[in-house]
């Protein structure tokens, strides 16, 4: 039971992280028609910048500074590079963001090296947020923070106690993601600038004719999207690992999220992020294979060459998002909630 709860929470937190990234991607795509290939690279840069800032002044300033730095970086890129390419069409736009991802990866490796760096979460977030203690005699309890050692070990050998901690970093991830979601929703629906953005989403020329500086809005949206990715990077980098390959790992998954959810749909990205986050987390935690399933059902497998069936779910976990992608494309090509054609 506690395994399910903890895994579910872990899955949700990972899904929310994916959403933080894919929401920025979707916003940029809806607004400007360009799929930002370098979005995951902004995520990576955010993590590294926060790491450096954390070493100098601390994690919490880094949490604020890093996203800002990445946002400025994104805005500059839009202003000086992307805008120039806009008139050539969508393929060159995608290509230039592809080129940017290459360059950012190399720059990060240039400055911080090719191996992972020790980006630790702040002291306040180092332990568990809470611990589920499941005792075979007492039942399930929730203990805030870390459960004391004594609680996790039973004096009597007949009593089984299992302590499942839920990391505070994960909890913080969920908190930031939810706050960001609310802020984004409020911004888009309640403020003037949000209204301008919403209209520019579908009628950029009209909005420009009304006197709004649409290129500047584009620059801000791109910068904001990058900043959000950077924020996700600070949290993701401190919770998981900060290394050059973090961009590639999460990059392809968020593209799958965006296609599965339906290009241009924030709601679709939300559903797809959570779905993929939860499925992957559970898959990694489960050690069953198709072979053991068949064996459990009474089938006897022959010798040799059945490595495919012998693969555990945990080993297959990395390809699940892509399998999902292929399935969605066959059965529901518009994506879960697609509105806009790619």
């Amino acid at each position: 039971m506690e395994f399910f709860t903890i895994s579910m929470l872990n899955g949700l937190s990972y899904g929310l992280l994916l959403f933080m990234l894919s929401s920025g991607l979707t916003l940029i795509f809806s607004m400007m028609g360009v799929l930002n290939f370098a979005h995951a690279s902004f995520y990576m840069v955010g993590a590294y910048v926060a790491y450096t800032v954390a070493r100098i002044v601390g994690f919490w300033p880094g949490l604020v500074i890093a996203p800002l730095v990445v946002a400025v970086l994104g805005a500059m890129f839009e202003r000086y590079c992307l805008r120039r390419v806009h008139k050539f069409g969508h393929v060159p736009e995608l290509l230039i963001t592809f080129g940017l991802s290459y360059v950012l990866l190399e720059l990060v490796q240039l400055i911080w090296g090719r191996t992972a760096v020790e980006f630790q979460p702040p002291v306040a977030l180092r332990g568990p947020a809470f611990t589920l203690v499941n005792s075979s005699i007492d039942g399930l309890h929730l203990v805030w923070g870390a459960a004391p050692e004594a609680m996790c070990k039973a004096a009597d050998a007949a009593v089984r106690i299992v302590c499942s901690p839920f990391p505070a970093t994960r909890g913080f991830m969920m908190l930031v993601a939810v706050l960001m979601l609310i802020a984004l929703w409020l911004l888009l629906s309640r403020t003037r600038i949000g209204l301008v953005i919403q209209s520019a989403l579908t009628h950029p020329e009209m909005v420009e004719a009304l006197g709004h500086n649409v290129p500047r809005v584009f620059m801000m949206v791109f910068g904001a999207g990058a900043g959000l990715a950077g924020l996700a990077g600070v949290i993701g980098g401190s919770t998981f690992v900060t290394e050059p390959s973090m961009a590639a790992t999460v990059g392809s998954v968020i593209f799958v999220v965006v296609v599965v959810g339906g290009m241009g749909s924030l709601a679709g990205a939300f559903v797809a992020s959570l779905l993929i986050g939860v499925i992957q987390t559970f898959a990694v935690a489960l050690d069953y294979s198709l072979g053991s399933l068949l064996g459990g059902l009474g089938f006897k497998l022959g010798e040799g060459g059945h490595s495919l069936l012998g693969l555990t779910l945990a080993q297959v976990a990395p390809i699940l998002p892509y399998l999902f992608l292929v399935l969605i494309l066959i059965f529901r090509p518009k994506g879960l909630m697609g509105t806009r054609e790619g």
């Binding site: 795509f29 799929l35 590079c81 120039r84 390419v85 050539f88 969508h90 393929v91 060159p92 995608l94 290509l95 230039i96 592809f98 080129g99 940017l100 290459y102 360059v103 190399e106 720059l107 490796q109 240039l110 400055i111 911080w112 090296g113 590639a248 392809s252 593209f255 799958v256 965006v258 296609v259 290009m263 060459g305 490595s307 495919l308 693969l311 080993q315 297959v316 990395p318 390809i319 998002p321 892509y322 399998l323 992608l325 292929v326 494309l329 066959i330 090509p333 054609e341 790619g342």
Partner: protein, 432 residues
């Protein structure tokens, strides 16, 4: 492929084309006699493989308007299937002459393109690109899961000196492999060129230019893309089969995102809008991977920066730059621009030296700490600990960049003038 003049009215192959192809063949035949070293022959073999791979990629990108991020899947799987076939020949279980191994790769390319292409070509544009990315990741991730086929981390290897020697050819020495690959490269290039002159090839161009309109001239856009995808997969598989013969090993990286990215980068760099562009790209690709990586650790960074600049300023690639200047020369106006080109080259070079010095010094701090703080850069000794080195590099970069930008702007104006004159001349000729 867009041209403003045809050899004759309907685009049939004429004497000028035959001469160009004969020269092309001659180049292949003679190259290893000019570049004799072992390294050169290895590189030439790799260039042949790269040419077929990049041309097959451009069938999608330049001719069909389909941006794929996962082309290595088809060439890579071709390599794997071919390697297994080669092993089987060695074991005596597969009676195929070794010379035909690339065809095995080609057939596997067809197979996988038929299988995966249907889902892939259901969509177009950005979605298509994302699908190819996803499938590429899928195949790469699977490479660790099915060791019987992919051989796990060590990959699969085979010996190309398998089976009976044919007229004394054992494929032991690299030079023999080179000539076989050269023949395949020539044939594949010729076939892919011929494709551009067929109904399907031309309708593929129409799909690139206006996919919706194609439906209204009676063609199913999706079907056109699917068939083109399969043909492209065939040639990609051929390239993979050639690689199996050349390297005698297949590892997971042949289906990886890095390989796919390289195809994209270099095909674009060479020029996607002309048939011969990818050939240039392929040559650059091999030179970059084999030679440039020896010169500097930062070569990928330089490559990325060049790519960015190309997308912004010359999206047609090197081929388009060549063709544009050829057109200017044809109208007799190239002389006016030569001075500007020289100025751009000089200022550009100075900028490059400054920027490269900075990059190399940063890399040196990062990677070579144990070797001390000095490094050799273009014959000069730089010290990462000395302010003078850093200052010198920055100053050089700035001293180069400012005049370069000024020159570039003036050049752009001149270029525009020249283009205007050429257009006026063309219009005058039309009216006559």
């Amino acid at each position: 492929m867009a041209t403003t003049t045809t050899t004759n009215r309907y685009g049939a192959i004429g004497p000028r084309d035959l001469i160009i192809w004969a020269l092309f063949a001659l180049l292949f035949a003679v190259a290893p006699l000019i570049f004799r070293s072992g390294l050169a022959v290895t590189m030439l073999s790799q260039i042949g493989i790269a040419i077929v791979a990049c041309l097959s990629y451009n069938m999608l990108l330049g001719q069909g308007g389909m941006l794929s991020f996962g082309h290595a899947v088809y060439s890579g799987l071709g390599t794997y299937v071919a390697i297994h076939a080669l092993k089987a020949i060695g074991d005596g279980t597969f009676p195929l002459p070794v010379s035909l191994i690339p065809l095995v790769g080609g057939v596997s390319g067809i197979f996988f393109a038929v299988l995966l292409g249907f889902v892939t070509t259901k969509k177009s544009g950005t979605t298509f690109a994302m699908i190819t990315l996803g499938i590429g990741e899928l195949v790469f991730a699977m490479s660790l899961m099915v060791p019987e086929f992919f051989g796990g981390e060590a990959g699969v290897n085979a010996n190309r000196m398998a089976g009976k020697p044919f007229m004394g050819i054992t494929y032991g020495p690299q030079i023999q492999v080179y000539y076989l690959l050269a023949i395949y490269t020539f044939i594949c290039t010729a076939l892919m060129y011929a494709f551009t002159r067929t109904p399907l090839g031309r309708v593929l161009n129409a799909v690139r230019d206006n996919p919706e309109r194609v439906e209204f001239i009676g063609y199913s856009t999706q079907r056109v893309r699917y068939i083109a995808f399969i043909i492209s997969g065939f040639f990609a598989g051929m390239a993979g089969g050639m690689a199996a013969l050349n390297f005698e090993i297949a590892t997971a990286e042949v289906v990886g995102a890095g390989r796919s990215g390289a195809y994209l980068l270099f095909t674009f760099l060479g020029g996607a809008t002309f048939f011969f562009g990818p050939i240039i790209g392929a040559v650059l690709m091999v030179i970059a991977f084999v030679l440039l990586s020896e010169f500097t650790k930062a070569w990928l960074l330089y490559l990325g920066l060049v790519f960015l600049l190309m997308v912004m300023y010359a999206p047609g690639g090197i081929a388009s730059l060549i063709m544009m200047n050829l057109r200017v020369a044809k109208f007799g106006k190239l002389g006016r621009l030569l001075g500007w080109y020289a100025a751009l080259a000089v200022t550009g070079f100075i900028t490059f030296v400054g920027v490269a010095a900075i990059i190399e010094m940063v890399y040196h701090i990062q990677l070579n700490e144990a070797l001390g703080s000095t490094l050799k850069f273009m014959g000069i000794e730089l010290d990462t600990k000395s302010l003078a080195s850093w200052l010198g590099a920055v100053v050089t970069a700035v001293v180069g960049l400012v005049p370069f930008e000024l020159t570039r702007r003036r050049f752009a104006v001149r270029w525009g003038e020249v283009q205007g004159e050429i257009e006026a001349a063309i219009r005058a000729k039309e009216m006559a």
